[in-house]
Every structure is written in C-alpha cells, then in structure tokens.
C-alpha cells in the first residue's frame, strides 16, 4: 500500500476537481513532479474529463424541442379534482347555455392562444412575439443571431422580412441594442431586436422589439396587453407590425414604445408596403 506521505487517488481526484485548498494543491503538484507516472495518470483523468465534456456539451447548443418549450410555458395541467369539477360544471352548464366552448379553464385559454397563433390573427403574432421574447431573453450566450456592432444587421433583416428595419436608438431611455435575429412567422419571417438596460447599478433588463409585415386589414391601433409579468405594446404603422415586449412597469415600457414610434422608418415605396 501507499506510504503515509503519498497521496491517494481520492486526493488526486479532488485536486483535479479543484476541491483542495491552495496549500494542499501545491503539495500535490510538488509531489506529482517527483512521481511522473502518477502525474501521467492524472493527466489521463483530465483528458477523460475533457473528452466527456466535448462529447456532451454539444447538447447545450441543440435547439430545444418544442414540446419541452411548451411544457415549461404552459399552465400546469389541471388536477384530477379540477378536471372532475370542469366535467361536472359542463354537465350543468351544458344544459343551461349549451355552450361548452364558453367554459374556460386555463388549459383552454392557452389552446385558444395557440389556435389564434396558427390563424395568424393579431393576437397570434403578438403571442409569437411574447414567446420569442421568453425563449431568447434568458439566453446568456446566444441571445441574438447577429450582434449590434455588425453593420449589415439592419440591411440583412430588411431584406429578409421585406419591411424597412431600423435599429432604434433607445439610449436616451437607458437601453442599448444587443443585436437581432430572424424568426419564423405564420406566413413568412419576422425579426427580433433585443435591447439591454445600461443602468450599471441595477440588474440587467432586456426588452425585445418584434417586427413583421402585417396581414391585410390588420388593425392599426396602439394596444397594450399584460401576460403575467410581461407587458406588450403592439401596433401596426406604415406597413409594419411592431410588438415591444418586456418585464417592465407599463409607464417605462410606454416610454420605450413612444421612442420607437417616433423613430420608425417611412413606409417602403414599392409593393412591399402595399400588401
């Protein structure tokens, strides 16, 4: 067996994992220097560790399956008790008003939102704007596809979504552009611009601007919607649909929406804005 001043595999393993204090670490390093065979073995352990990471880390960059995204965002499935209550309620209400569809419990509201999203109604694209916000805002590394510093961002998005994309300057409101990305939309493509708060003393806040070519006859009114902690301002103007999404107080979000509204570009001259 090992001599008393030798280090065990457990010690070496803990050292490799950074679990030992600096003092013990130095002693092990010095000892390994005199025991090259053991040092070679710990290097193999380190190589195994690196190989394992290299093999498994790519999972982090895989797109998250939609079913998992939906599970995380959907309201909890009703308990058996709630289902029974709904069933009982339907039996009674069914006789009275004959309209099962009017019976709303949480799951159905989400279903309705999803149906609306598929139908391409204003509620649908606003819903997609909120979803895109929730998906990308928490991303520390891959929040945007193209960073703000790259000059072609506006040109690229303009070409892709067929409406003029302007990189709104929200610095007066305390937000700086992070970048943007292209997203799938019901009938085509949409764009998302992400902004981050610049107030160094407070936790970083992110807001997103969702841009799309509006459907024909889309209502143009300036509207507000609250979804949990997320607030949404959305409007259609000059051939473009805008949705500003953020977990901010309504007044703060309104100030940002107004800043965007004032900066929004003129409509495209050609057929792009006509449809």
């Amino acid at each position: 067996m090992s001599r008393p001043d030798d280090f065990s595999d457990t010690d070496l393993s803990a050292w490799l994992d950074g679990e030992l204090d600096a003092d013990a670490g130095h002693r092990i390093e010095a000892w390994l220097h005199e025991h090259p065979e053991v040092a070679a073995r710990t290097r193999l352990w380190a190589a195994d560790r690196d190989a394992l990471r290299a093999r498994l880390d790519p999972v982090l960059d895989e797109p998250v399956p939609l079913v998992l995204q939906h599970t995380a965002q959907r309201v909890a499935p009703p308990t058996r008790w709630a289902q029974a209550a709904v069933a009982a309620g339907l039996l009674v209400a069914g006789g009275l008003i004959g309209a099962a569809a009017t019976w709303q419990w949480q799951g159905q509201q989400v279903l309705a939102a999803q149906t609306a999203a598929q139908a391409g109604t204003p509620a649908g694209w606003v819903q997609r704007a909120a979803l895109a916000h929730s998906v990308y805002v928490p991303e520390p590394r891959h929040a945007v596809e193209v960073k703000a510093q790259e000059e072609h961002l506006a040109r690229w998005l303009t070409r892709r979504i067929d409406i003029p994309v302007k990189l709104f300057d929200l610095r007066d409101e305390g937000f700086e552009l992070v970048g943007g990305r292209l997203l799938p939309d019901a009938a085509g493509k949409s764009a998302q611009l992400m902004y981050e708060s610049t107030d160094a003393g407070a936790p970083k806040q992110r807001v997103t601007v969702y841009l799309r070519k509006p459907d024909a006859n889309a209502p143009t009114a300036f509207r507000y919607q609250q979804q949990g902690e997320l607030g949404l301002f959305y409007w259609v103007e000059a051939g473009a649909g805008y949705a500003l999404v953020g977990a901010l107080p309504k007044e703060r979000l309104l100030a940002l929406a107004q800043a965007i509204y004032k900066q929004q570009p003129a409509p495209m001259p050609a057929s792009a804005a006509a449809r």
């Binding site: 982090l60 998250v64 949990g228």
Partner: protein, 182 residues
Amino acid sequence: MSAPPAFRQQLLAAIPRLRRYARSLVFDGHAADDLVQSVLERALAHWRQFDPRRDIVLWLLSIAHNAHLDGLRRDRRLDVLPPERISEAMDAAQPPGTDIGLRLDLLAALERLPHDQRSALLLVLVEQLSYAEAAEVLQVPAGTVMSRVSRARVVMRAWLDGSAPASSPARSAARPDLRRVV
C-alpha cells in the same frame, strides 16, 4: 395557482443543461427528452417548494436524479441500451468530424459504471458542480461524492486502458491494486 412566469422563464432557460445531464444518464436522445419532460412536469407541479434564492439548476438536477431513479426502479431497462444499439445511438448523436472510436469507448465505459458512481462523475465533470453541490443533488455527504468520483475515474480509465475486466464493475472498483498510488 400555476407557476408564475418568472419561474417558467427560469425553467425554460435551464432546459439545455437538463437535456445534457439527461443525455449523459440515459444516452438515448428520446428517452433523455422524456426524462427532461417529466422533470419539467414535476417542477411545475411543485414550484412552491423551490426557494428562489437557490440555484434552480441544482434543484432541477436533483429532480432529474430522483426521476431517473424512479424510472430505474420501474424499469431496469431504461438505463441500459442493448449493446447492439449502442453504436447506432452514438452515431445518431455524433457530430461529424469527431473521433468516433475514442468516444465510443468512453461512453461505453461510462455506461458500464454503477449508477451512483456515474451520476457523481457526471455532475462534477460535465455539469461542473462542486462536491458540495453534487452532494446536495444526490442527497449524500460530500465525502461520498468525493470517493464515488475518484472510484469512477479509476475504474473508467482502467477499462479504457483495457487493464480491467469490463464485466464486474463493482469488484474492479474495489480491487486494491487499482487504488494504489505507485
């Protein structure tokens, strides 16, 4: 009341790490995502038990650990891919241009480890948790994590070197000559 949006967003952000851990536990991509799905469902059903001052990833990993153990108890086969399907599963997950030979060996060795050693090894090496954090996830003392990680390393390396029989993991782990410091 269902889970608040802030909780859901944290959940959403944690999915990639959950998927990585699940993949390393059950290898098969679909089975791994099924595990993640059940973790998300459990988390949403018990969101009130989560202390927001804690790291949500640790909480979710411990749910994953328990869900995986439950699955093992329910169906021992969940954990073990039949040998003839290993290369198939590996090929499916293998990004092009990587050294398939080496990694096949590595994952085959990983899969052969006893479950308790494997999860300790993965939490520390791949999830990069401290021993204390891994101990919290696995609900064992930190010293146990330390010895499991060390044993797993030694045994796995011996298998990769071809210096230990692959058939009896428990016994090879306990063989004194493997633990001796030269």
